[in-house]
Symmetry: C2
Subunit: 251 residues, 2 copies
């Protein structure tokens, strides 16, 4: 799972600098690193990924070559990629209903549950310092006896939510958040496509290289504090996102 690694994977055949490039490119094109925002220095990048400065520089070189960032003397490196489309806006209340009913109408299998230190891009999505403890829960959702989605969720431990396998077996995670008194106010989602790697192929019962529908979502409370970050991967033959657009007046 490329998105699950907070650092780089030294055992992969992909060169380290290219792994860093891929992660930063994802952060830029998904809007997590906005147009005009400052990129980390090579030194900062080398530290956060625990790689040499030469490796960090090669990753930045690749970003500059693909016109995602621009380097200027004294000013530093900034994002120059502008997403071609503005985000589409929807109602959080209605989306929560949809997500919770999805949770209730499918079966869940909890593969992993542990406390881990948050690393970028998770720490950035949750707006917490690198290393802050978070619950990490890995689940698979099933429908009619077939796997549908593979979901990795991160929730700051500091929120004080009791995250148990028993509770997660019966209750959608967003309901657990609400039961703990968190008032959900907003969410940002990035929807994209990727290919099944060996892990996904195995848990979703598809061939390696099959198409995968990707959703990265950050849920915020009514004070705009991030409370959950989710990486969800769906089998597109079993799940598609329906987005209905109406006039605001006619709803």
């Amino acid at each position: 799972m490329d998105d699950d690694v907070s650092a780089v994977d030294r055992l992969q055949a992909v060169p380290l600098y290219h792994q860093i490039f891929l992660q930063l490119r994802e952060e830029i094109t998904s809007g997590a690193r906005a147009f005009g925002s400052r990129m980390p220095t090579e030194q900062e990048l080398a530290e956060s990924f625990s790689v040499s400065r030469i490796t960090a520089r090669r990753a930045m070189d690749e970003l500059a070559q693909t016109h995602l960032v621009e380097r200027k003397r004294r000013v530093g490196t900034h994002v120059i990629f502008q997403p071609p489309a503005k985000p589409i806006e929807g109602s959080i209340e209605q989306a929560l209903d949809s997500l919770i009913s999805f949770g209730r109408s499918t079966q869940v299998k909890i593969l992993e549950m542990d406390k881990v230190p948050a690393r970028p891009p998770v720490s950035e999505a949750l707006q917490i310092p690198n290393g802050t403890p978070v619950f990490r829960v890995v689940r698979v959702r099933w429908l009619d006896g077939l796997p549908l989605s593979y979901i990795i969720s991160y929730i700051p431990v500091a929120l004080g939510i009791e995250m148990t396998r028993a509770a997660l077996k019966t209750t959608p995670m967003l309901s657990l958040l609400e039961q703990a008194g968190i008032k959900i106010g907003a969410a940002t989602q990035t929807i994209s496509a990727s290919l099944a790697d060996a892990t996904l192929a195995n848990v979703l019962a598809v061939d390696i290289g099959s198409p995968i529908l990707r959703v990265n979502r950050t849920v915020m409370d009514i004070d705009k504090r991030p409370v959950q970050h989710i990486l969800a991967r769906f089998r597109p033959d079993r799940y598609q996102i329906r987005l209905d657009l109406h006039s605001a007046n006619s709803r």
Copy 2:
């Protein structure tokens, strides 16, 4: 382009019955054929795809085996697949802004433009009889000198919109619809993932088998009459869908 064929492609290596199965599965899982709705009979299916009744039956067999439809004596065949998630709802006004500004901020290249008789699933999406003439426009959008999306659009000729290459070169298609007096009132979208076939690989400059972000969209006027059906295919490394959810009150 599997979605572009209204009938089956006899030159493909994929067996005819399986091509029909794939198309019907797409229509069912995308919600175009709703839970509980009646499926065509084998005879109707054989006619609309111009295949033998045996081929039609094998396609229906495959649908029944994958629990998408149920066959009952005397009652006929009905869709038993229920999409696990309700559609997310968004504002059409804001989405139109986003789509039109996407059109204006990218370059367009018109690959094909012709009048064709509408076939299912296009005729079904546009709610017009099989064979009704529609404009079919195939475009590629570019950004920063690289292809971003491949779009096939269908617009009923009866709407009386003057669809010219010159107009489409400079004006987003939705703007042309609005300029022709059509008041856009709603849209339904299905977002999914697939793999690049030879056509997509060629026009989007990616390898065959690369991941592709798929959007099928039907745009309706304020009287709920479908006015445009679009199949859009995006390079996920160059375009992702951002969906921001807010409280309806705070917007």
